[in-house]
Symmetry: C2
DNA sequence: TTAAATGCAAATTATTTGCAGAAGC
DNA sequence: GCTTCTGCAAATAATTTGCATTTAA
């Protein structure tokens, strides 16, 4: 089976990000272009280090410092989300454009990250926040869980055979 | 107005923690005693560094390394919870004994941490996790929010006057 | 007695930053 | 031309770890 990943940036995303850059009076550089290209050409999560590698594949002159300086800008634009899943490195998630409210489940058995969305939880959280006298700005829901399939049958398609 | 904080450990907590220590074949040392005393004598959250200061008030020989080595043990015991609120330091929360399922709201205006508990969210999260084929092990809900009172009246009792 | 626990100081490691040169506008 | 942006290398800072010594059981 071959899985197809998005290997190019959606035009709408490109438009929005360069709109943001222009609105903020930021300059367009080959390094930024490469980082942006790398940041929004895959649907998976990545670390700053992984983004550096991907950006260098587009433009070899990209440095680690520039990646670290560009990431907060992308996060501020609202198109990329910083994801703290409790590891020592931050993860970045480019999937908030299509699913702005999704949450994450992390499998304790195979470390797989499953994204999910639930309107009810979202609404409940907003209600509680209001009741406490606040207005929600940013919400994080993260569930660490064990795989039922693995427990039942001793096998899970996503579990590495030996690690 | 004077606020009273708990300045001693509840006997039930002391019993449970030493039960854990014994069950795990861990040794009882004056440093561990001091760290435990410091860890469960306040209702507020604290960093490793703050715990070190508090533990040294009980037993001056406590070292930073021992604090860092003891904290994971207390977390494993289930009586203390590690709290990642997105700062560069971890926070530790001793309030999970009375409220095992509580979540956190962080005020973006005054940095106050408000603890809340909601059965409905809890249940919904469990349902979704099950539907996805998992069993929940650890859940984290964190809401960053702005203060309505402050926006409405320009004043909030918890907002520092000038910072 | 013997394995576990400790303090110290050095190591680790993701991220940040100062600075001098390069490049966008 | 002026300011922003960049790469490099050094700094930062929370946490971890190696090791010699101490201590609980």
């Amino acid at each position: 089976m071959i899985l197809w990943y998005v290997e190019w940036m959606e035009p709408a995303v490109r438009e929005r990000i360069y709109e943001f850059i222009q609105a903020r009076g930021l300059r367009r550089t080959s390094q930024r272009d490469a980082i942006i290209e790398a940041a929004f050409s895959h649907a998976d999560h990545y670390t700053a280090e992984e983004l550096l590698v991907r950006a260098r594949a587009v433009e070899p002159s990209v440095s680690r410092a520039t990646v670290y300086r560009t990431l907060p800008l992308l996060v501020e634009s609202g198109l990329l989300k910083e994801l703290d899943l409790g590891k020592d490195q931050m993860l970045y998630d480019p999937n908030y454009i299509d699913h702005p409210r999704h949450s994450h489940l992390i499998c304790l058995d195979c470390s797989r990250i499953v994204e999910f969305e639930d309107r009810n939880i979202d609404t409940l959280e907003n209600c509680i926040t209001k009741r406490l006298g606040f207005s929600p700005a940013k919400k994080l829901t993260r569930i660490d869980a064990s795989c039922d399939e693995l427990r039942r049958s001793g096998f899970c398609a996503h579990k590495p055979v030996s690690v």
